[in-house]
Amino acid sequence: MTDSVARWIGLAALGAIACSNGPHTAPPNAAPTGGSGGGAGMGAAAMSSGGATSSAALSCTTTAPGVAPLRLLTHVQYDNTVADLLGDTTQPSQQFPAENVVLGFSNNVAANQVNPTLIAAYQSAAEALAATAVSSRLSTLAPCPDGSASSDCGHAFVTNFGTKAFRRALTANEATIFDNLFDATLPQGYSQAIELTLRAMLQSPQFLYRVDALHAPTPETGAVALGPNELASRLSYFLTNSTPDDTLLAAAANNQLVTSSDVETQARRLLGTARARAMAQDFMSQWLGLSTLDGAARQASDESFGPSELVPDWKSTLASFIDDAVWNDGTLGGLLTSPKLFLTPKLATLYGQAMPSDPTTPVSLPSERSGLLTQPAIMALLAHPDQSGPVQRGVFVLQQVLCVQVAPPPPNVVAVPPAVDPNATTRERFAEHIADPSCASCHVSLDGIGFGFENYDQLGRYRATENGLPVDASGEVVGSGDPSLEGPFNGALDLASKLANNETVRSCVATQWYRYAMGRVEDTTDQCSLNDVRSRFSATNGNFTELLVAITLSDAFRYRPAMDNQ
């Protein structure tokens, strides 16, 4: 069991009600599990004092390596890799079966193994990629012009391109396998032989998996520093979701990827690339669960837009907002309080704004918007088709922003949003949760936060009134585990200001990004690394670049356990 989802809202009260359909459902995690690592900011007590200060209970005097199993390239990594290696931007992973998702993240290593459909898709993708590469880019790919019939040309291709595809030099045996394939095909023509060799490379596990641990000449013990090639791949696949570039490969080859200073230099360089910006978008999309917005129906009462028509607009405006907050402002506080709103023509109409002449220029709406949680995409995501979703919004803040796990409703309740009523506000209709004692134990916490967002409807519109009645967006934080957050607040803008520089929020966001970086849910072996990451993020006032650099400098990122079967 991990101690990742450690705190549960309302379980003490819910236990008897929610879990009455079988003895097995008595919540195994009902008590906050601090974890054998001493809590590391995940237990309620530790969280309440902030992730950065919880290190006192940890003993982090020795290097704490992170597990390093074979990792399949994720879909986005596959697409980026073939784009960088072959100039092919067709995104073959669109034909791959969907990736499995754990706690929001689709790059979880353990949950994503090969299956028959994926193997077949790899074959199809390799065939298409190789055919295109040979027909359109043979001269840049391979050393000799088409029509040449030299075995040496093919072997040079194996050595040179193979090194890029495998992200390290091929062993003699690996090269021989490809050389033999090339030679056997050469009678059918040089380009054909290159094409088949390329197809085989793109289906080889050395390409499809990231391999962090290979047998060393001598038996290993303790924590083992990743080799330069492996570290180069880790850096590039975390920070850019792609294969190491020439600079990184050269640094690895020249013994310039050894010290923490070396790692930091490369990390900061990679963070300046467009691929790093795309990585941040990918992380945010998974953390925020944006894929559930795809196909979601959100209706306006006047039906001025089709049910799912605005989804692309919401996603694009959120992407612009995230890009600006993470890379221009650069801090978590900015992400949570920026009043900027990027518009599309449809959204400008919907939100009563003039469309800026330059669509990349945001409008600033400090009296209506404050940060990520008030962005239209998030408010529309956390809504029902015909009304806002106060419960979903409360759950979201607790789970995604505060890392408090919320139990689902008991099985025998009617978990249906109340019917829309033109004579009442959403809040009045949802207030039943609080009135019913069996619901109140949880909903005082969920609705207490969720009602604070009542200024935003299911289309992300700001509203001061609803059905002609004034909107009451007062709220109360209950059950956050952080005394500095508990208590009443007045609307989403006020809540955002409380969350902006809060240590529990910083700790949670650091944890989320760490999960994404490592491709796993943290366990006790991660606690020292995670603590270092949280400390750095906090010490830099929530600076995203420093957070990402800190992850690359952590023990778990740079070291692995000794291999078991030398």
Partner: protein
């Protein structure tokens, strides 16, 4: 083997227009005496059923009963239908996870869930199901002589965790569904080698190429295996096995069957495309069965925590929350029954299609066994007793056209007994399945 092409299957396109589709073979050529080809399907729909619209309204005997509302779309296949009453999902009563998770995890595996990080139910967490699903056991037995041992299909089954998986190749090894028709086409039909206009089978230059490429890939896997940890070696072994399956398929890529037209790209998350995706996937599966490209399939419509509307049925509730309504609520009742009828209609469409393809003295429909069920019995209370289960086909093994109370000595049997019966019907000689403490052998009511 030369097959006589004698029948057209019609594919009704999204527009409702009838589109003539491929010529299909008669799968058992005249005079041929080989054993009949059998097919098997697991069919899942979410959130239980409205019991008052599920169980027959009147019955005087197992063979004399009046179909309730939900089963009306299957009335044309009454002789193939078997309705089982009083079978419990006992295995959903233990192990980690919430009621939806436990139900879907055990429905076709008879297993508990593993520990894991999928969050649900009373604050508990769970992982994948802890064992192989019945369809994959059957595929291992009867699927090896076709190009594809099994197909996993889904319609808006886009929750990519334990909620969205019904097929497992082993413990913790879920098989993801294909969720749009074009992917199904590309997987099954794209690379088929089919007869030319004069009926001759062209040579396929791709076969030799692929074989040499896959040989090199297999060698690279073996090479890497010598240098990695034992855990990683296991992963690579699994990878190698799947590559070998692709190699095996190369020898089977030539069939006497026409290809269906290439489906349009559709959005697997789109409520607008959902009915088209569903019917096209049913039709592509029908053709794959008829062409004997595959004999085993799983079919999942949506997932337990879905929030899907069915606007083409004027059902605008959000799926899972809607299922929490009191089933006596008239609006919820009518919406949920309409959805269930639409699901039943997909099964009817499959059997309509398959009944149009002759196979010796019978039709493909006569040789196809399907089990339809769901992960909770009643959505509003998450019960796992008296599960709504429909079987279609299987008349070669048990008498169909019946409504059967399965209670044994006053006790409801475990559904894992039913899974044993299904395996036996498909030629898998096994006396237990799933967690052994819940399984006492084949379901007596079908013996």
């Amino acid at each position: 083997m030369k097959r006589r092409i004698d029948r057209r299957l019609f594919l009704r396109a999204a527009t409702g227009a009838a589109v003539a589709l491929p010529l299909l073979p008669s799968l058992r050529a005249q005079g041929q005496s080989s054993a009949p080809i059998r097919r098997f399907v697991t069919f899942y729909t979410p959130n239980g059923q409205i019991h008052s619209a599920w169980w027959p309204t009147a019955s005087t005997s197992q063979t004399d009963f009046t179909l309730n509302d939900i089963h009306q779309p299957l009335a044309g296949h009454l002789s193939r239908l078997t309705l089982l009453k009083n079978v419990d999902l006992q295995t959903a009563g233990g192990g980690p996870g919430g009621p939806h998770q436990r139900g879907i995890g055990t429905l076709f595996t008879g297993q508990y869930l593993q520990d894991g990080d999928f969050v649900d139910g009373c604050g508990s967490t769970a992982g994948w199901a802890d064992g192989v699903s019945v369809d994959q056991v059957i595929a291992a037995q009867i699927g090896q002589s076709t190009p594809y041992p099994s197909l996993e299909l889904g319609v808006r089954a886009t929750d990519n965790d334990v909620q969205g998986r019904i097929a497992y190749s082993g413990p913790g090894a879920p098989l993801p569904p294909l969720v749009q028709p074009l992917d199904v086409y590309n997987r099954v039909f794209k690379d088929l080698v089919v007869p030319d206009q004069s009926g001759n089978m062209p040579a396929d230059p791709m076969i030799a190429q692929r074989k040499s490429v896959l040989d090199a890939v297999s060698s690279q896997i073996s090479e890497l295996e010598t240098r990695v940890s034992s855990d990683d070696k296991q992963k690579l072994d699994a990878h190698l096995t799947l590559v070998r399956d692709v190699e095996r398929r190369l020898a089977q890529s030539a069939v006497s069957c026409s290809k269906p037209p290439v489906p349009a790209t559709m959005d697997p998350t789109s409520v607008t495309d959902m009915p088209n995706i569903a019917t096209l996937e049913i039709d592509l599966l029908s053709i794959a069965f008829a062409c004997d490209l595959v004999r085993v399939a799983s079919f999942a419509v949506s997932t337990g925590f879905n929030r899907i509307q069915y606007p083409w049925l004027n059902s605008m509730g959000e799926g899972h929350p809607l299922s929490h309504e009191d089933p006596s609520d008239p609006d919820a009742h009518s919406q949920l029954v309409a959805r269930a009828q639409w699901h039943a209609g997909l099964i009817a469409r499959l059997y309509d299609n398959l009944a149009s393809v002759n196979e010796g003295d019978s039709t493909v429909a006569d040789n196809t066994l399907l089990m339809w069920s769901t992960e909770v019995s009643e959505g509003n209370v998450h019960s796992h007793t008296n599960m709504p289960i429909v079987l279609m086909g299987g008349g070669w093994y048990f008498q169909t056209g019946r409504y059967i109370d399965c209670v044994e000595n006053g006790t409801n049997p475990s559904h894992s007994n039913l899974l044993v019966t299904l395996m036996n019907a498909m030629g898998v000689e096994q006396t237990t399945f799933g967690r052994p403490e819940f399984c006492t052998g084949p379901l007596k009511a079908l013996a």
